[in-house]
Symmetry: C2
């Protein structure tokens, strides 16, 4: 089908032709309305007219950034990679990926499960909500998606097939290279320049050459390290959940990149939220829950990844019989430590870029009181800097928690 931009009327006509959608709605009529919070894309909720709780999401990419407009072109092929990533992750961790009813790379369109009973994690964390199963769920998601798409599980030919499928997601990778690793640490028109101006904290980070040198190392890893298929933008706005279920959405930044990047993104967002509560609410109990959750996510990831690896005797990397079991266990421990270290480094970049870079997060930039916001920013920069300066000497999850608490 030839690509055309749909609106709330034509999307309904389009969906009439999709058998899975028609089966979902059965005898019900349905209608679509736009959801306003799509930054990059047009997102429609398609509801049964008789039973509005029966609904699907239709998401279409347009050849520009929706939130900015046609003057910021961004090729709609980003949806190609979102579709491929959703499809791949759905196979690996079906319980954490929305059900897919229809995908079309030609139309840059995906139709999927409506998460009507789930909230976006970022705002729930700001509202001090706790989730008893979150660390269990997200560590399972991370361990499985990363392990099963790596050379520790795949054979070489399957790994290269996977790299090929995502190799051309250049534009979105470039956004990360620019906005996460570069522009947020130098004078740049895309920054939050109202805040940068005459701000000693901005001057401090822009002039910290040792920090920036280490950011270069991490940027280079991001650009050249093909460990596994990563989500690529796993912040707390890409997670929807409730007490029972956790879903990871919006993987349009997906490509075969470094193990530590998704883990680092999540860590960065949890710490930014911790800073929010430390400065704004001072809620000790909630801060404890955040630290416990952070600890659990990282520890459980480690255990689960290790376990998955132990169950796989032969892969692109390991030939059965090559090395004895006890040495292999040592190798795995070192390997996992190095994943943890990279995660901390990436987390540092991701935290720091939220302070002066183009896309602030509600946890920090959303703080209304200017004085408190400045305090939060300073704390974010301090922790981020310590993460970046020390990531390669981190030995354990405890080391990370210590840095956050200080």
């Amino acid at each position: 089908m030839k690509y055309k931009v749909l609106d709330k009327n034509s999307v309904v006509n389009y969906l009439f032709e999709i058998q899975e959608v028609m089966e979902f709605f059965g005898d019900d009529d349905f209608e679509a309305s736009e959801i306003g919070d799509g930054n990059l894309n047009f997102v429609y909720i398609v509801k049964s007219t008789t039973n509005p709780k029966k609904a699907l999401i239709a998401k279409q990419a347009v050849p520009y950034l929706r939130c900015v407009g046609e003057e910021f072109p961004l090729s709609r092929e980003r949806m190609t990679y979102e579709i491929r990533a959703l499809t791949k992750f759905k196979k690996i961790v079906p319980e954490f990926v929305p059900k897919l009813y229809h995908t079309s790379e030609d139309m840059s369109l995906v139709v999927m499960q409506y998460l009507g009973e789930h909230q976006i994690l970022r705002y729930d964390l700001i509202d001090k909500k706790t989730f008893p199963n979150f660390s269990e769920h997200i560590s399972t998601y991370l361990a499985n998606t990363l392990f099963y798409t790596s050379s520790l599980y795949l054979q070489s030919d399957d790994k290269r097939e996977l790299i090929k499928k995502f190799n051309d997601n250049t534009e979105l990778c470039k956004l990360t290279e620019d906005f996460v690793f570069t522009f947020a640490f130098m004078e740049n028109e895309t920054n939050d320049n109202e805040n940068v101006k005459d701000n000693p904290l901005a001057a401090k980070i822009f002039n910290d050459m040792e920090f920036k040198k280490r950011v270069l190392d991490l940027k280079y890893k991001f650009m050249t390290q093909t460990d596994a298929l990563i989500h690529g933008d796993l912040h707390t706005g890409s997670i929807m959940l409730n007490n029972d279920e956790t879903y990871v959405i919006d993987p349009e930044f997906a490509f075969v990149g470094p193990f530590g990047f998704d883990i680092g993104a999540l860590l960065a967002n949890l710490v930014n939220n911790y800073v929010h509560h430390h400065i704004v609410t001072g809620d000790q109990e909630y801060k404890e829950w955040l630290l416990k959750t952070t600890y659990e996510v990282l520890e459980m990831f480690d255990e689960k990844f290790f376990e998955l690896w132990d169950s796989q005797k032969d892969s692109a990397l390991i030939t059965d019989g090559y090395i004895d079991d006890s040495t292999l266990e040592q190798y795995k421990s070192q390997f996992l430590k190095s994943i943890l270290q990279d995660s901390v480094g990436f987390a540092g970049c991701k935290m720091a870029r939220r302070v002066f870079g183009v896309a602030g997060v509600e946890d920090i930039r959303g703080i209304k009181n200017k004085e408190l916001r400045a305090k939060a920013e300073e704390l974010v920069i301090n922790i981020a800097k310590e993460f970046v300066m020390k990531y390669d000497s981190i030995n354990s999850v405890e080391d990370i928690i210590e840095i956050i608490k200080r």
Copy 2:
């Protein structure tokens, strides 16, 4: 054109249709004869009947390993990557790549300059020939091919295009993964098992788990580190030269891999030749020339790579204005040290695999006297092991020369 296997008659008929070939031979008739030393492919020398010095090389891949036969299938698409690599390298360092007269990915065929006045470096080194310009030439080749295909020069989209062009060279990458990094260090039917049997040296290396653990690290780098377009098999049999000119041939293993792999391959082959002369000829003067050459290749590579990098202000990695000049110089020094370190690690693997692995080299396996051969093998393993165990603490080229000399 549909693929078909050519023989010495049909290759001539095929070449009649190629304008560049007809222009090369002008009014001369020409005929083809097979050159026996192609391991993987059929190689024909196509000569003018009136002036046999006027000649071209036609090289065609068949869907199996020529030297073994049809029972060892290997897809002929390896020639696709050889053609792409020759074409790319020819643009970057035209003086070190044979002139190309015709290439056809469909026919898995390349027609190129005949290097009638050049010898294969491996045999010349065994014959104690010296080459006054070799280190100058090969360091220029390495610095330029690696720099201009890396993220230190290219922008992100061009880098990803390059990765894509070579991504499917899976089969040949897999040969390296298996034969360089794995099978040569464990019981395997492909090894030189006559020599492995009851050999304490084989037992020593097969049971050295610390060594093998480090080999795993290097194998993982080989599989996942997309630094630059590498030749992939840069041993001294892939270099043809005389006093004035140096040519690098046979890049069918090319793919976007780690910086250190080509440098390491060359280092390994120079050291294996050094061991040959240490044990077999005892020629002190030639050994000195080999050490001097090894030193020069590595030092000159470093200088030239640095110089190329200094001339490039903006790339996928470095945004002009991001970091101050003196910090950037420090970053570059660290970066180059890490290339040197990886080169030493890869050299260790490549040296060691020649001892018991499937493809021995003349410098070592060709030693007729069994006792001397065993001595040479022991020295190769000792140096290789030191390279692998210490590569990440190497600080300078002097450190490497010290290890070889001891």
